[in-house]
């Protein structure tokens, strides 16, 4: 891009794809936006659209423009003022053309980068904290239930040992069968003898 040799002129370049064709009406809008910017900046309300002049429009849609001073003829408003005005209203100019800082570039007017939004607590710490709490909860639960299980088992085995001691003293075996199983098993009642007590024998 050509660098500005003209003291008052600010070069201006379009980038990338326009969603509309660039014609005289668009130029008119641009001149209106620059006039608006100058009015806002100087708060004088004297700049007219006719004060803004465009020249050397190329196919690329790039051109030079100057803002003439309406009060004094044949002079142009200094470059610094124009740049400041545009910088102040950059957003409005961009939105009027449905473009942004990348696609609508003013040479020598660098765009300021917006500072990043830093949340008070980094998001990753929040996720980390929740996962950490879950895992710690799981570990504590498993350890505690493991200890309880072991206590129960110890109690149960202690009781079983006590019972076994009692059995140990009185277990006697008869033909390889411990007598206590015979004691505790429901014995078979021999039906013959049971019935015999009742009716079998004829009464004398």
């Amino acid at each position: 891009p050509r660098t500005g040799q003209n003291a008052g002129a600010a070069p201006f370049i379009f980038f990338l794809t326009l969603q509309y064709t660039w014609d005289a009406s668009e130029e008119y809008l641009f001149r209106a936006m620059v006039a608006f910017a100058m009015r806002r900046y100087s708060s004088k309300e004297t700049t007219q659209i006719s004060n803004v002049l465009l020249c050397n429009v190329t196919d690329r849609v790039s051109f030079w423009f100057v803002v003439a001073d309406s009060s004094k003829n044949v002079t142009t408003i200094p470059r610094k003022n124009v740049e400041a005005a545009i910088r102040m209203n950059r957003n409005r100019i961009n939105s009027a053309f449905l473009l942004n800082d990348d696609t609508l570039q003013f040479l020598k007017i660098s765009s300021t980068l917006s500072p990043p939004i830093e949340p008070s607590l980094p998001i990753w710490l929040i996720v980390f904290g929740s996962v950490l709490c879950l895992i710690l909860g799981g570990i504590v639960f498993l350890i505690v239930s493991g200890i309880r299980q072991r206590q129960k088992k110890n109690q149960a085995s202690a009781e079983a040992e006590n019972l076994e001691d009692k059995h140990e003293t009185i277990v006697t075996t008869e033909n390889g069968i411990p007598c206590d199983t015979l004691d505790f098993k429901a014995g078979h009642i021999n039906g013959v003898y049971a019935a015999a007590d009742d009716e079998r024998f004829t009464p004398l």
């Binding site: 990338l16 196919d59 980068l113 990753w124």
Partner: protein
């Protein structure tokens, strides 16, 4: 009252545990690299041959030893011969080395996972410098994903001598990773058996989602075609065969004692022959599956960067020569360049240094492996997808599952011999033993969270296990075949599985596998000796490229 040995609830838990252990990060980040370097689709030939000659027989051997002896590695080898208990101890020591540094990868995966819940992703854009006038210089010169990895994650120092301080963010992620591992191994097979259902199956779901997403990405086909076209002349390169053998060997995780430990919790009549074949085939199939995903991601990333480069050139030319919008397109760029050279020769030559030659092949040719692939290349591809947060969360969650699955195997390999030993298990409950092991590993692992930690990680990754494992497995094979006796082993297998092993197994165990391992061992030894001074790659923040430094023996003076 003697406690019976804990068992897996069903054989499926055992198979899942083995798959979860064997299918790890190496399948995702090492195999695609090897495929690309050694002949694309043609690499599958040496890979499958090595699987049949080396992978399956050695896997079956370890599982059978564990299932027969029903003890961890130390006890099992002591039972075979009291002179061989050193093999078991060596396995435990190597497992200890591995678990020390491997969990750091899980810490990094946690870090990236937690950072995936932001919009935009933190590695998508460069952060601004202090005056807010522009972006950070280091980030501008490298890329935002590289900056995020080297500066914000690792905060890497320029060389291994400059230790720096412990990065607290990485340290807490490491502690969290160890807490997760502790939670999974706390109750032994009872807890591990439930966890492996998740760690073995979920990664496949994520890989499937990524496969569908990857294949539908713009430019994925470029990657697939480029990588998979077989370059059969690579088959003549001995390095291809050596790397295939090495990959099979280390991918299955032989020699660490984890497989012996897992198998020792089996029912005595478990059909470990069938399980060995299933596990090794699934492991290899997963490698191929993962490399399809990786290549389509490569293709997408390369195409994206290529098109970005082309559009930047178009923009530059359009602005310089005030051409109309749409005058230059990607198709007519070359023709237009010639036209412009002839019409405006002076301005064009002025502009020439700024015009980059964009080439799709150059973008595809960047072969990356290891942490660079997993954390830089993949995150670069993810940031350009739609709904990138979702894919990022899925991807790093999958890395976590793969990593935790392998860690479970490693810690089981350390814990099983400890809990088998009567002396220790009478004095300490299982939970305390696991806790002590995790705690010690965590403290030692804090080294890898220092600023120079990644260099230490590379040392461990490259040298901690390689030669030792080869030696361990060689001694294992020889001792089972010749010390224990192949006939005795056959009889044991007959009792366990119900049929004698076929001649294929016997030939592999007795001849093929030992010969292969010996040749691998000899190759690596000669390679180390011939290399002379060992060098490592350091990230130079001022020049923003890798420089190779020599390991200095003085760095061991902490």
């Amino acid at each position: 009252m003697e406690q019976s040995r804990p068992l897996w609830d069903n054989p499926l838990q055992f198979v899942f545990a083995c798959i979860s252990y064997a299918v790890g990060l190496g399948n995702v980040w090492r195999f695609p690299y090897l495929c690309q370097m050694y002949g694309g689709g043609g690499f599958l030939v040496p890979y499958f041959i090595m699987l049949i000659v080396e992978g399956m027989p050695l896997l079956y051997l370890e599982l059978a030893v564990g299932q027969r002896m029903r003890q961890g590695s130390i006890g099992a080898w002591r039972t075979i011969s009291p002179y061989l208990s050193g093999v078991g101890i060596a396995s435990v020591v190597v497992s200890f080395f591995l678990s020390m540094y491997y969990n750091v990868i899980n810490a990094w995966a946690f870090w990236y996972l937690f950072h995936s819940f932001q919009d935009p992703l933190p590695w998508a854009n460069c952060p601004m410098n202090r005056n807010y006038t522009g972006y950070m210089e280091e980030c501008e010169k490298a890329s935002s994903t590289q900056y995020f990895w080297y500066r914000e994650t690792l905060n890497i120092s320029p060389s291994i001598e400059e230790h720096g301080s412990i990065q607290w963010e990485q340290a807490v992620c490491l502690i969290l990773a160890w807490l997760v591992v502790y939670l999974c191994i706390l109750r032994g097979t009872e807890s591990t058996g439930k966890v492996v259902y998740v760690t073995a199956s979920l990664p496949y779901l994520v890989l499937l989602i990524y496969l569908i997403r990857g294949l539908t990405l713009h430019g994925a086909v470029n990657g697939l075609v480029y990588m998979f076209t077989p370059k059969l002349e690579q088959l003549a390169n001995p390095k291809a065969w050596i790397n295939a053998a090495t990959q099979i060997f280390f991918s299955l995780g032989l020699g660490f004692g984890s497989l012996i430990a897992f198998a020792s919790y089996n029912e005595p009549n478990n059909n470990c022959e069938r399980h060995a074949m299933i596990v090794s085939l699934i492991n290899s199939a997963t490698s191929i599956f993962a490399s399809i995903v990786t290549f389509s991601i490569y293709g997408f990333k390369a195409t994206f960067n290529y098109e970005d480069c082309v559009s930047k050139v178009i923009l530059l030319l359009t602005n310089t020569f005030d051409l109309e919008e749409g005058f230059l397109t990607a198709d007519n760029l070359e023709a237009m360049k010639n036209y412009l050279t002839s019409t405006y020769p002076n301005e064009y030559t002025e502009l020439l240094p700024q015009i980059k030659n964009c080439s799709l092949e150059a973008e595809l040719d960047t072969a990356v492996q290891g942490t660079g692939l997993a954390f830089i290349v993949y995150s670069e591809a993810i940031k350009n997808m739609e709904v990138s947060q979702l894919y990022s969360v899925l991807y790093f969650f999958m890395l976590l599952l793969l990593g935790i699955g392998s860690m479970l195997g490693n810690t089981t390999a350390i814990l099983t011999p400890l809990t088998d030993s009567k002396f220790i298990s009478t004095h300490l409950p299982k939970e305390a033993i696991s806790g002590i092991v995790c705690f010690v590993n965590c403290i030692v692992g804090l080294i890898f969270t220092m600023e120079a930690g990644n260099y230490w990680f590379d040392i461990f990754n490259d040298y901690a296990a390689t030669l030792s494992l080869l030696l361990i497995v060689l001694v294992e094979t020889i001792s089972v075949c010749y010390v224990y006796g192949l006939r005795r082993f056959e009889k044991d297998l007959h009792v366990m599985t119900g049929h004698k092993p076929s001649w294929y197994w016997k030939i592999m165990w007795a001849f093929a596998s030992p010969v292969l391992i010996v040749s691998l061992f000899v190759f690596y030894l000669t390679d180390y000796i011939l290399t002379g001074t060992l060098k490592y790659q350091a990230w130079d923040a001022t020049q923003l490229r890798y420089t190779r430094y020599i390991y200095n023996s003085s760095l061991f003076n902490f």
